[in-house]
Every structure is written in structure tokens, then in C-alpha cells.
């Protein structure tokens, strides 16, 4: 056995765990080897040192800290209901309450905005529902009465509400910004209309204009007939000869030949004494004044117009009448065919009682 083997066996030798033979062999080696004797002495001394190592004492706070943490650990297991209603769990009710408060605030803000909305749009709310909004597409809301009293100062061209306070309905309804007699934009008509301001007493055109009782029936245009384009400027004769030769250029049949005449044609025709149905016109001045105006009046009659009135203002012939709503679309198409478009034509709102739609047509007096 080498010293290394003996040294490895020394701990067991000291504890008496070696067999008697191994113990005797170690004892013999120790007797003859001072190095191994030193080793076993060191082991014994080391054991003494280790067993005599000073013990450390736990600090007084150690148990408190341990038990604090232990109680914290045990707390959730004890109070289930307490956990549910403890302040730490208030975050859910608090978040719900916050959500409710926000919702109420948002609703209040919405209500306030809605009130403002209606206040701004009071004029529109007070106005009757547009009669032709759907059928016309580009028409805005119209007044029930087409008289001047219900029309803003510049009824044919100006807005019914001040500029800058565009009503929401106007914003929503594309290109139908104004209530009352809303007309398509037409610069000449605008200029002329401005030249003939409305009467401040609120009396409509019926008072100053000519009342036409156009009750006689004319050939009614087929509903939904569409004039594709205005007629070209042609003479009555050429039209007449063409009519004999060619089919009409209209997509839909017209109530009469005169209805298809262009303004120059109408003038020529009027000059020939065409205006024979003016017996119902209350204004005697209308007769023979303008062939074109007479043609329009005739056209109005064909479309079942009533209360046809006529007046002259600022070099403009202003015709007003009331039409059954079903005839308005066809009339507009016919007027378009006659070259009367844009702001020259104004469509009012259907009278809720009589169900009639006021129509206002402006043409130059020399037309």
C-alpha cells in the first residue's frame, strides 16, 4: 500500500469502519510513516475545528419575514369571497363603471350635437318633404307653396339658408343644396332673376302674373318618356316636312307636334297664330305676346297643368303652374327638349292637400 492509499483510508480508519485486516495494515503503515501520521493528525484536528465552528444565530426579523410571507401565501386559500370583493378586485367594477361613464358622456355629447344639428336644420325640418327628390335625383327639397312668401329673397338661385350654415340635409343630399324652388345652375337665369327681385309682401307670382286655367286636356306624354337631346334649330316647315319623311328623333312619343318644337320653331309657329288655346288664360296680355311662351303654356296644358300664370319681369317671361307630380318628369324632359334647362326651370314641392307640384319657368321675353 502506498501512502496515498493509506491517506484515502484514514477517514474510514478514524471512524472504525475498516475491516480488522485493513485497520492493522494502516496501523503498521502509520507506525513507520511520519507523513501519514501527520495526515491523520490533520484529519483529527480538522474534525475538531469543524465540530467547533461557531454557530451563527438567526436575526430576530428572520422568523417575522418568513411568517409574513407564509401568511401572504396562505391568505388566498382562506378568503375566497374576500378576494372577490377585496379592493384589489375592484379593478373590474371600476373599469365597468368607467366604461359606463364614458358611454353616458358620449351619449350626452351625441345628444348635444344632434340638437345642434336639428337647430341648424330647422328650416329644412319645417319644410315639406321634397316631392321629386327621388324622381329627379338632383332636385332638392321644395316648398309646399311656390309663392314668393315661401321663397327666400332669391328663390330661383339663392340658398334658403345663410351661406356658411349649410344644412345637414344639403350635405347629405348630393347637389340638392337648397330648399324652396331649387333650380339647376344657369348663369343667364341667375342674372335675370336677380334683376327681378321678389315682392316683399310675400305675394306670389299668381298676384302679379297671369293666371292661366289650363284645364283643357292635351295629349298626355307617355310617362317616363325621355328626350335624348334638345331639338336642333329648324324651321316649322322643315320640321313638318321632316316629320312627314322621317321618324321623330325622340325616344318617346310626344303629346303633339308643337311639344316637340324648338324655341325658334315655337316662335315661328306662334307668329302664325298658333296660340289658339289661350281662351283659358286669364291674362289677356299673354295672347300673342310670345310664341315661345305660348308654346310652353300649351306644353303645360298637355301635362295637365293648372293655375297657369304668367308675368313679365326684367325682360323675362315667368310662367308658373301646378302639375300633377307624375307629369313633372315628362315636362322637364320636354322642356329640355325645347332648350329650357338649368335655372330657367324651378320645381317646387308638392302641395300636400292638392297633391300638385308648382312649376316655374323663365324664358326671355323676346323668346
Amino acid at each position: 500500500m502506498t501512502c496515498r492509499d493509506i491517506e484515502d483510508s484514514l477517514p474510514a480508519y478514524l471512524e472504525g469502519l475498516l475491516s480488522p485486516e485493513e485497520s492493522a495494515r494502516v496501523r503498521d503503515h502509520l507506525a513507520s510513516c511520519p507523513q501519514c501520521r501527520k495526515a491523520i493528525a490533520d484529519l483529527e484536528r480538522m474534525g475538531t475545528i469543524l465540530s467547533g465552528l461557531e454557530e451563527v444565530t438567526p436575526p430576530p426579523w428572520l422568523k417575522q419575514r418568513i411568517m409574513t410571507r407564509v401568511r401572504d401565501e396562505a391568505q388566498p386559500e382562506k378568503g375566497f369571497f374576500r378576494r372577490l370583493f377585496s379592493p384589489l378586485h375592484l379593478k373590474i367594477p371600476l373599469s365597468t363603471a368607467a366604461l359606463l361613464i364614458l358611454s353616458v358622456l358620449a351619449f350626452q355629447v351625441y345628444r348635444t350635437q344632434e340638437t345642434q344639428f336639428h337647430r341648424d336644420g330647422d328650416l329644412h325640418v319645417a319644410l315639406p318633404k321634397p316631392a321629386l327628390e327621388r324622381s329627379m335625383g338632383t332636385q332638392g327639397p321644395h316648398r309646399k307653396d311656390h309663392s314668393r312668401a315661401a321663397i327666400p329673397p332669391a328663390p330661383a338661385v339663392g340658398p334658403s339658408v345663410p351661406r356658411g350654415t349649410t344644412p345637414p340635409s344639403a350635405a347629405k343630399s348630393a347637389k340638392s343644396p337648397q330648399p324652396g324652388l331649387v333650380q339647376p345652375t344657369h348663369q343667364s337665369a341667375l342674372r335675370l332673376e336677380q334683376a327681378s327681385p321678389p315682392r316683399p309682401d310675400g305675394e306670389g307670382m299668381r298676384d302679379s302674373g297671369k293666371h292661366l286655367s289650363g284645364e283643357e286636356d292635351a295629349a298626355k306624354p307617355r310617362k317616363g318618356a325621355v328626350a335624348l337631346a334638345p331639338l336642333p334649330l329648324e324651321t316649322l316647315e322643315s320640321v313638318g316636312s321632316r316629320k312627314a319623311e322621317e321618324p321623330p328623333v325622340f325616344a318617346a312619343p310626344r303629346p303633339s307636334l308643337s311639344g316637340a318644337l324648338s324655341p325658334p320653331m315655337a316662335r315661328k309657329k306662334s307668329g302664325d297664330g298658333e296660340n289658339t288655346s289661350d281662351s283659358a288664360v286669364t291674362d289677356s296680355g299673354l295672347r300673342g305676346k310670345s310664341a315661345s311662351t305660348a308654346e310652353i303654356i300649351s306644353l303645360l296644358r298637355q301635362f295637365d297643368a293648372s293655375r297657369i300664370e304668367r308675368r313679365t319681369s326684367g325682360g323675362m317671361e315667368i310662367l308658373t303652374a301646378e302639375l300633377p307630380p307624375r307629369q313633372v318628369q315628362a315636362l322637364l324632359q320636354r322642356l329640355t327638349g325645347l332648350g329650357i334647362t338649368g335655372r330657367a326651370v324651378s320645381i317646387g314641392t308638392a302641395d300636400s292637400r292638392a297633391g300638385m307640384v308648382p312649376v316655374r319657368i323663365e324664358v326671355p321675353a323676346n323668346r
Binding site: E54, T57, P58, L62, K63, E73
Partner: protein
């Protein structure tokens, strides 16, 4: 035959002074756990301290160990004494803490083993607040020499390999039996002995090299 099988399945009856208190803890008595803390905190702190070599860290480890014991006290099946079971938890916590400390020190500076840096001085009242038990009979000089020696021994303990250090601490410092140590580490008593003897020889060599002639 059946009777012998049933006896084998039964856990061995072990005398344990903590048994009654442990049963209370298992029934949810938190304050009974305080009794166990009172009873074992010093021994556990000394084991942790001898393994780590730092008083504050040892206190922290003991806290963690007791908390872990409380969390799993319901799983304690009384196959060993409660103190033995608790020793195992403390040793595991101390080993984990040593790993953390080594990693932390490796980041700060490489090459030094943690116990060398601490030198055990902190554990013996060298400014760490450690409350060592006073030795009334020794003179001041002897006490200083003893503290110096113990610090160096602690330093050498810290240099022991893992697997040797904790067995040496439990056996030669805490005085546990081979059987208890075998229960703590769940290894055969023969393995405990062989590891212990190697640990002792290693520590002896370390002390010779670091302290010199200490016999």
C-alpha cells in the same frame, strides 16, 4: 404474504418531535408553521451559511426554504423526519443560490470563486451584522485567532466540490447521521460515507495549502 406487502407499503414509523406540529400545518394552521420555524431556523441558517459563506445570503436562502416547505408541507409524507426533509430543501435552495452567485460574480469579474471573495468574514461578524455566539472564556486574542482560522476553514469549505460540501457540512458541522444524510440526498449510506471521506481528505489538503500547519 399480504401482510408483509402491506407492511412494505406502509411508511416506516419514524420518531419525530415535529410530527404533531406538521399535522397541524397540513390542516392549514399557519401559526403552527411558526413553531417549526422557531424550532429549525438556526440549524437551517447554519447549514445555509456554511454552504454559501455569506450571512445575508444565508438568511435569504432560509426564508426561501421555509416558504418552499410551507408550500409543499401538504406533500410531506412522513417518510423521514421533518427536519431531514427541511434540510434537503435548504441544501437545494443553497445550491441554487450558489449557482446564481457564481454566475453573478462571473459577470462582475472572472476567475474568483465566490467563497474566496466573501472569505467567510461576513459570516463571522466582520461588518455584516452576523450574530455569532460569543465565547466568554476565550481571550480577545484567542477569539481573533479562532475567527481567523474559522474564516479560512469556511473559505476552504467553499472550495470543495459540489456533492462533497453539503455532505461534509451536514455530517461534520451539523452532526447528522449517515442515515439522515442518505435520506436528505436520497442516496445509499455507503455513497454518503465514501463522499464524506473524500470530502474530508480534500478539505484537509485545502487547509494545508491555505492555512499551513493547523494541527
Amino acid at each position: 404474504m399480504e401482510a408483509s406487502n402491506s407492511l412494505k407499503e406502509q411508511p416506516p414509523i419514524i420518531e419525530d418531535d415535529d410530527l404533531e406540529t406538521v399535522l397541524l400545518c397540513q390542516k392549514g394552521d399557519v401559526e403552527a408553521f411558526g413553531v417549526l420555524v422557531d424550532r429549525h431556523q438556526k440549524k437551517m441558517l447554519n447549514v445555509a451559511y456554511r454552504m454559501i459563506g455569506d450571512y445575508e445570503e444565508a438568511c435569504d436562502v432560509v426564508q426561501e426554504a421555509f416558504l418552499a416547505a410551507f408550500r409543499s408541507v401538504a406533500k410531506f409524507r412522513r417518510e423521514a423526519r421533518f427536519s431531514t426533509w427541511l434540510y434537503g430543501i435548504v441544501v437545494n435552495c443553497a445550491k441554487n443560490r450558489l449557482i446564481e452567485l457564481k454566475q453573478r460574480k462571473a459577470r462582475v469579474r472572472s476567475g474568483d470563486f465566490f467563497p474566496e471573495a466573501s472569505s467567510g468574514k461576513e459570516g463571522y461578524g466582520y461588518g455584516c451584522g452576523c450574530q455569532a455566539e460569543p465565547l466568554q472564556e476565550d481571550s480577545v486574542q484567542e477569539r481573533l485567532e479562532k475567527k481567523e482560522l474559522e474564516a479560512r476553514v469556511q473559505e476552504c469549505i467553499g472550495l470543495l466540490d459540489d456533492g462533497y460540501r453539503e455532505i461534509l457540512v451536514l455530517r461534520d458541522i451539523q452532526g447528522l447521521s449517515y442515515g439522515e444524510i442518505a435520506d436528505v440526498f436520497k442516496i445509499p449510506p455507503g455513497t454518503v460515507r465514501s463522499r464524506l471521506f473524500r470530502a474530508r481528505n480534500s478539505l484537509k489538503d485545502l487547509m494545508r495549502s491555505r492555512i499551513g500547519d493547523f494541527s
